[in-house]
């Protein structure tokens, strides 16, 4: 049970020891596709942080106030997905309406993450691990930041690598996956510091 875990422990664990991207390997496809430049990675990362936090709030409420009381926990996958998709669409419309600048830097990434498995993963982990509402918010926020840290680090490495000679068969996704593996090993150095599962 999670009552005993402090929110800040969950927050930092989600960034480092249990980084959703590097320890669970979730959210891989946009990670591979959009990690070519640091600036676009920042935009996508910002969108992921926002959507992860907001959807973990919405999904926590839907889970504990709709699914649990009616004994419909088995429907959580479909409900979570529908809520995430609708929320992302709505946010995109609002951003597009109110600010061109925000839309240019963040909005256009939103459709990309509607189907990002890391977003769904966060919602599922938080209910499987029985987090309280407050802990879920920080788990969502921490996971988003952790994902962003990972993609920006990867984009930085790939930008540096643009000038290095990669064996032909490994260019593109191949070398990116290898780097992700090495980064995951590095992040494993944090494990053991905090346990949240």
């Amino acid at each position: 049970m999670s009552e005993g875990i402090a929110f800040y422990a969950i927050f930092f664990a989600a960034i480092f020891t249990n980084n959703i991207l590097l320890t669970n390997y979730l959210g891989m496809c946009s990670f591979l596709a959009v990690s070519r430049e640091v600036s676009t990675s920042e935009g996508l990362g910002g969108a992921v942080i926002f959507v992860m936090t907001a959807t973990s709030v919405l999904n926590w409420l839907a889970y504990h106030y709709i699914l649990v009381p009616f004994d419909l926990v088995y429907l959580r996958y479909i409900v979570f997905i529908v809520i995430i998709a609708a929320f992302v669409q709505l946010v995109e419309m609002v951003i597009e309406r109110i600010s061109d600048k925000l839309y240019a830097s963040l909005g256009i990434f939103l459709p990309l993450i509607t189907v990002n498995c890391a977003i769904l993963g966060v919602s599922l982990f938080m209910v499987i691990r029985n987090y309280t509402f407050f802990n879920s918010v920080f788990y969502g926020l921490g996971s988003g930041i952790g994902w962003t840290v990972a993609i920006i680090a990867m984009a930085g490495i790939r930008q540096k690598m643009a000038r290095s000679r990669v064996p032909k068969g490994l260019t593109g996704a191949g070398i990116t996956l290898i780097i992700a593996g090495i980064m995951a090993l590095a992040f494993m150095g944090f494990s053991g510091m905090i346990k949240i599962t």
């Binding site: 676009t40 935009g43 839907a62 709709i66 699914l67 009616f70 004994d71 419909l72 088995y74 429907l75 479909i78 409900v79 529908v82 809520i83 609708a86 669409q89 709505l90 419309m93 609002v94 597009e96 309406r97 061109d100 600048k101 839309y103 240019a104 830097s105 256009i108």
Partner: protein
């Protein structure tokens, strides 16, 4: 709980959740995403009113103004550029890969990425007003080789097309197994401009290519298809320089159009045509080219095979097109080059041409990505 009521509760709950979300979305769509009508002012002379909130490219297309685009508005070809002369905000990250610094100073934008939120004024090349949508009937489909088909389309409405030899049209592929929405693909016209009533295309099969699969497996004589065009600035420049044509595969099409146009205009400029293929079975229209050699006083057709099969008994030029090219051109003086083929072939050929002293601004090409 008994299984049946639980099932009903499940169905009810899902329906309730999705209904609530759907209602929210419908309301949002009608309020937040509703931009009303917007006016597009084109070249300070024409004005059209369209529904707001949609991309500029498709809004213009509905008004029968066709901006060239090969990807159908997904932002992956970078062709649908227009100059915007009113303030519409900063570039989107999806546009930036296609826009050069020079184009930024002129506010050239990618029209498929621009959603219309307010009135806008744009500048487009005058010739795009000539671009029309044509309804055609497939007059014939002939195999040129095992993987290239010649398709002749007879124009029905409008019945005539005016273009420059070397230009291309866009072929509309309707929805079928490989695509859930209709898409456009660009093909050069192999027919010369004097054939006003028809358009000849050369289509090479690309495995799983949306348009080529459609042409190879679904299109039949008598079918009705829609094209729009003409587009492109791949046409013969009016100089007296020697001409080098280089093409591979279906890149033959615009060259053929230019050659027949030269023949009809009694153009006797010196011209060399290097055609690259793998083996004899990849060559086509060789007899026509030989005939052109006889009729055009200064024209020479040089097919080059990179991997001729022993049983084919090939006696012509052998080697990569770039090697053959390098052997044939001695000086680049007063020479223009016209290239059509795959990006790899073009890049390699441009390197050989510049090495032999032909300046890059005398090299014109159509890249088929």
């Amino acid at each position: 709980m008994a299984p049946i009521p639980q099932l009903l509760i499940g169905i009810g709950a899902i329906s309730a959740v999705t209904t609530v979300l759907a209602i929210i979305m419908v309301i949002a769509d009608a309020t937040i995403a509703n931009y009303g009508d917007v006016q597009i002012r084109i070249n300070d002379e024409k004005e059209v009113t369209v529904e707001g909130g949609r991309p500029l490219l498709s809004s213009l297309m509905e008004e029968k103004i066709f901006i060239p685009s090969a990807c159908g508005g997904r932002g992956s070809c970078g062709l649908c550029k227009v100059q915007v002369t009113s303030d519409i905000g900063d570039y989107l990250p999806t546009e930036l890969p296609w826009i050069s610094d020079e184009e930024k100073t002129e506010n050239i934008r990618l029209s498929c990425q621009l959603k219309l939120k307010k009135d806008i004024s744009i500048q487009i090349p005058e010739e795009l007003f000539n671009v029309r949508e044509y309804e055609c009937e497939v007059a014939s489909i002939v195999d040129l080789t095992y993987d290239i088909k010649q398709v002749i389309l007879r124009l029905k409405e409008p019945a005539e097309i005016n273009f420059k030899a070397g230009q291309y049209i866009q072929f509309q592929v309707p929805e079928y197994e490989l695509t859930s929405e209709s898409v456009y693909r660009a093909y050069s016209m192999a027919s010369q401009p004097s054939r006003h009533n028809e358009v000849e295309l050369e289509v090479r099969l690309i495995p799983n290519g949306i348009c080529t699969t459609y042409v190879f497996e679904h299109l039949k004589e008598g079918d009705t298809v829609t094209i729009n065009g003409p587009y492109g600035d791949f046409h013969l420049r009016e100089t007296d320089a020697r001409i080098i044509f280089i093409a591979g595969g279906s890149g033959n099409a615009p060259v053929k159009s230019i050659l027949y146009n030269m023949l009809e205009n009694n153009n006797s400029r010196e011209a060399l045509y290097f055609f690259g293929a793998r083996a004899v079975r990849d060559l086509f229209l060789v007899d026509e080219m030989k005939e052109l050699e006889n009729k055009l006083s200064n024209f020479k057709y040089i097919p080059a095979l990179s991997e001729p099969l022993p049983e084919e008994n090939w006696k012509g030029e052998t080697g990569l097109i770039t090697e053959v090219l390098d052997r044939h051109i001695d000086s680049g003086e007063n020479t223009e080059a016209y290239l059509c083929g795959s990006p790899g072939m073009i890049d390699a050929a441009v390197a050989v041409l510049t090495k032999n002293g032909i300046p890059e601004d005398k090299i014109y090409y159509d890249k088929f990505a």
